[in-house]
């Protein structure tokens, strides 16, 4: 899981770095010290989760959230709030933020929240995989059915033609003649 942590407070950046690296060994952690820096990283990187403080300098966490939602369909945002401000939390969730956590950060709780996001993303990927599998299977089966139908029609047409020739040939036909008439069915005889 690729996670970008955004906070203008160095202490929190360190908490995220250490806390996440220790508890999510398979995660790839990037750090940004401002909203501006975060946006640049978001433009270049494909993050699974962006964890951003709400109150920062010029570019706020909500700006970062808006930027993420503009740039990516799949990146999830987890908002961090310092002062408990339920209104901005609700606004962030309306803007597409997946979840929020309050400072002081409890790393175990943050990990649980990240795990929820991970399981959500896994379900999204799973649904997409099933959708593709279904489409691919239907396409392959459709092609095979089409080929078999075509072959069946081809054989049927050849047999019809042979029957017509045999009936025209009537009683006065030699073995050679019958063999010549049947020759067109040769490609369809099985071994």
């Amino acid at each position: 899981m690729k996670i970008l942590c955004v906070d203008d407070d160095e202490i929190f950046r360190e908490i995220y770095r250490v806390g996440l690296e220790e508890n999510l060994p398979d995660a790839e952690i990037s750090i940004a010290a401002s909203g501006e820096e975060a946006m640049e990283l978001i433009d270049d990187g494909d993050f699974d989760v962006v964890l951003t403080d709400l109150q920062m300098g010029e570019v706020s966490g909500l700006d970062v959230l808006r930027h993420v939602k503009r740039m990516s369909l799949t990146t999830e945002v987890l908002i961090v709030t310092g002062v408990p401000s339920i209104d901005s939390v609700i606004e962030s969730m309306k803007l597409g933020g997946r979840d929020y956590i309050e400072k002081p950060i409890s790393i175990p709780l943050l990990i649980e929240k990240l795990e929820r996001i991970r399981s959500y993303r896994r379900k999204v990927a799973e649904a997409e995989r099933y959708r593709l599998e279904k489409e691919n299977m239907e396409m392959a089966a459709g092609l095979k059915i089409h080929q078999l139908e075509y072959l069946a029609q081809e054989i049927k047409t050849s047999i019809t033609e042979v029957c017509r020739k045999l009936s025209v040939a009537g009683k006065e036909v030699s073995r050679r003649g019958v063999q010549q008439i049947l020759a067109s069915l040769k490609p369809f005889s099985s071994k």
Binding site: I86, V89, I90, M93, K94, R98, D99, S106, P108, L109, E112, K113, R116, Y120, K123, V124, E126, A127, Y130, R131, E133, K134, M137, E138, A141, G142, K144, I145, L148, E149, L151, A152, Q153, I155, K156, T157, I159, T160, V162, C163, L166, S167, A169, K171, E172, V173, S174, R175, R176, G177, V178, Q179, L182, L185, F188, S189, S190
Partner: protein, 201 residues
């Protein structure tokens, strides 16, 4: 979504029923339970999509309800209502399998957002499951069609082989008897286009 709200305080239950329900899409339905015991009793007989339960109640706690749901109701998700600022109980609830938690006093606007999140999640899970089932169904259907076609082709090939066997031998000018010819034609005739079909395909 069918939502079971569990709280031993009447005012909170009223809040859920009279306020929360109005804030949710019309297809959502709120049901109430006055205790963990009643919640589990209801869950034994009814399927709920979400259980919102208070953590601390007299008798069975929210964690007991959570444990029951996790064990018995695979597609149901739980939101635990925790005391204000109680990070530890929030963590414990999450650790034990709650999908989310919300602090008291419950902000309904926030709860609505959390429920929307959950709706998203259930929709995705359901969608995946539907694709998986649809794939299985259409695989069975296609395999059946393929089998029928292959069988048809196999029968035609068998008739053709038989016709070749009946005319095997050196090519010569000896006339083929009418009975023999009829035999050959008889083999192939069932696979001819019927007149009404001709030109149709």
């Amino acid at each position: 979504m069918k939502i079971l709200c569990v709280d031993d305080e009447k005012t909170i239950r009223t809040l859920y029923l009279e306020m929360l329900e109005k804030m949710l899409p019309p297809e959502d339905r709120i049901e109430l339970a006055v205790s963990g015991e009643e919640a589990i009793e209801r869950l034994q007989h009814e399927v709920f999509d979400v259980v919102i339960t208070d953590l601390q109640m007299t008798g069975l706690s929210g964690l007991d309800v959570l444990a029951y749901v996790r064990e018995k109701c695979s597609s149901c998700e739980v939101i635990i209502v925790t005391g204000y600022g109680s990070i530890d109980s929030a963590y414990i609830a999450m650790k034990q399998g709650a999908r989310d938690y919300i602090e008291k006093p419950v902000k309904l606007m926030l709860l609505v957002e959390k429920l929307n999140n959950l709706r998203d999640y259930s929709r995705i899970v359901k969608e995946g499951e539907e694709f998986r089932l649809a794939k299985d169904a259409s695989e069975i259907q296609s395999n059946r069609e393929i089998m029928l076609l292959e069988e048809r082709i196999r029968l035609m090939q068998a008739a053709i082989n038989e016709a070749f066997t009946l005319t095997a031998g050196k090519p010569d000018d000896e006339l083929v008897s009418a009975a023999h010819l009829q035999h050959i034609t008889g083999l192939l005739k069932p696979f001819c286009w019927q007149e009404r079909e001709e030109g149709g395909e």
